[in-house]
Amino acid sequence: MVDVTIPDDLWDDDSEGSIAAWLFAAGDQVAPGDLIAEVMNEKTTYELLAPAGGKLVMVVAVDEPVTKGQLVARVDPAD
């Protein structure tokens, strides 16, 4: 399993953000570099890309608060 985390340097301070949208459904196959989610912090929207190809497993739901470095999903490369 490959972890999908909020990058440590995605925004400038230590405030919380949230997952604004998952752009795939749970269990969908994603490719490396696919845009899989939008993350919002204050009034800025960021793109979250898949770090690997495989089945997407969400750990955090839409609108749940997230912090930088937090695990939000996993990608299972197993067939």
């Binding site: 009034k43 800025t44 960021y46 793109e47």
Partner: protein
């Protein structure tokens, strides 16, 4: 285009030479979508643009179950709804509101300085309005619509809201930082439209008209103050 809008556009162009006034036509959604990096005009760092009267919601708001009903209600009231990529909540576009979009590109893999992007945008706007003798700063305006940390303020009142989206392009990461400057027109009518839309979306908040200001109102106040000062001296 009114006098103040012309002056602001001229000031911004003088400060930032790559500024483009984007006069391409389109429907309200097409106009918003031109902030997307591939649609950006040439090498411009700043894009100035205007839109027809509309509500501009976020894609996050559009995912609420009540969005379709809220959209229909707003359209029936004469306010079509467009969607934007950046964060925040509901804003207004219309004649009398000048949109200022500021673009920053960094190489893929580099960190894009988000606070710096907002500061560059705010500083550009503040410098252009200083030429009209308006002293502006940045900060939150509680009880204003779509509040945030980087509103452009005049006398503590919200003159422009800002928001941004960060997008990965093939070789770069692009930040588009956007402000909607209320140059003239009715704040009261704007907030009526926002309240109607957000109430239908079941996400309404209390906003106060007096927390907002337009450039025209501010200039009227400055002229009045100047006249009173002159009469006393």
């Amino acid at each position: 285009m009114g006098y103040f809008e012309q002056e602001i556009i001229a000031s911004i162009g003088a400060i930032e030479p790559t500024t483009v006034v984007d006069d391409r036509s389109g429907n309200v959604q097409e106009m918003v979508d031109r902030d997307e990096p591939p649609d950006w005009p040439g090498d411009a760092r700043v894009r100035l643009w205007r839109n027809d009267r509309c509500i501009v919601a976020t894609r996050h708001q559009a995912r609420r179950p009540s969005f379709a009903d809220a959209r229909q209600l707003s359209e029936l009231a004469g306010w079509p709804v467009a969607l934007r990529r950046s964060g925040g909540t509901t804003v207004i576009h219309r004649p009398g509101i000048l949109n200022v979009s500021y673009r920053i590109d960094v190489n893929r893999g580099e960190s894009l300085p988000v606070e710096r992007g907002y500061r560059l945008l705010i500083d550009l706007l503040a410098a252009s309005l200083a030429k009209l003798n308006m002293r502006c700063d940045a900060g939150s305006v509680p009880a204003s619509a779509c509040d945030g940390s980087y509103n452009l303020r005049w006398n503590g009142r919200k003159l422009a809201g800002t928001a941004a989206f960060i997008s990965h392009q093939p070789t770069t990461t692009v930040g588009v930082f956007h402000a909607s400057v209320a140059v003239e027109g009715s704040i009261e009518d704007d907030l009526i439209a926002i309240r109607r839309f957000e109430a239908a979306l079941h996400s309404d908040r209390p906003y106060e008209d007096a927390r907002h200001v337009t450039v025209a109102e501010a200039m009227g106040s400055l002229v009045h103050t100047g006249i009173r000062s002159a009469m006393r001296s």
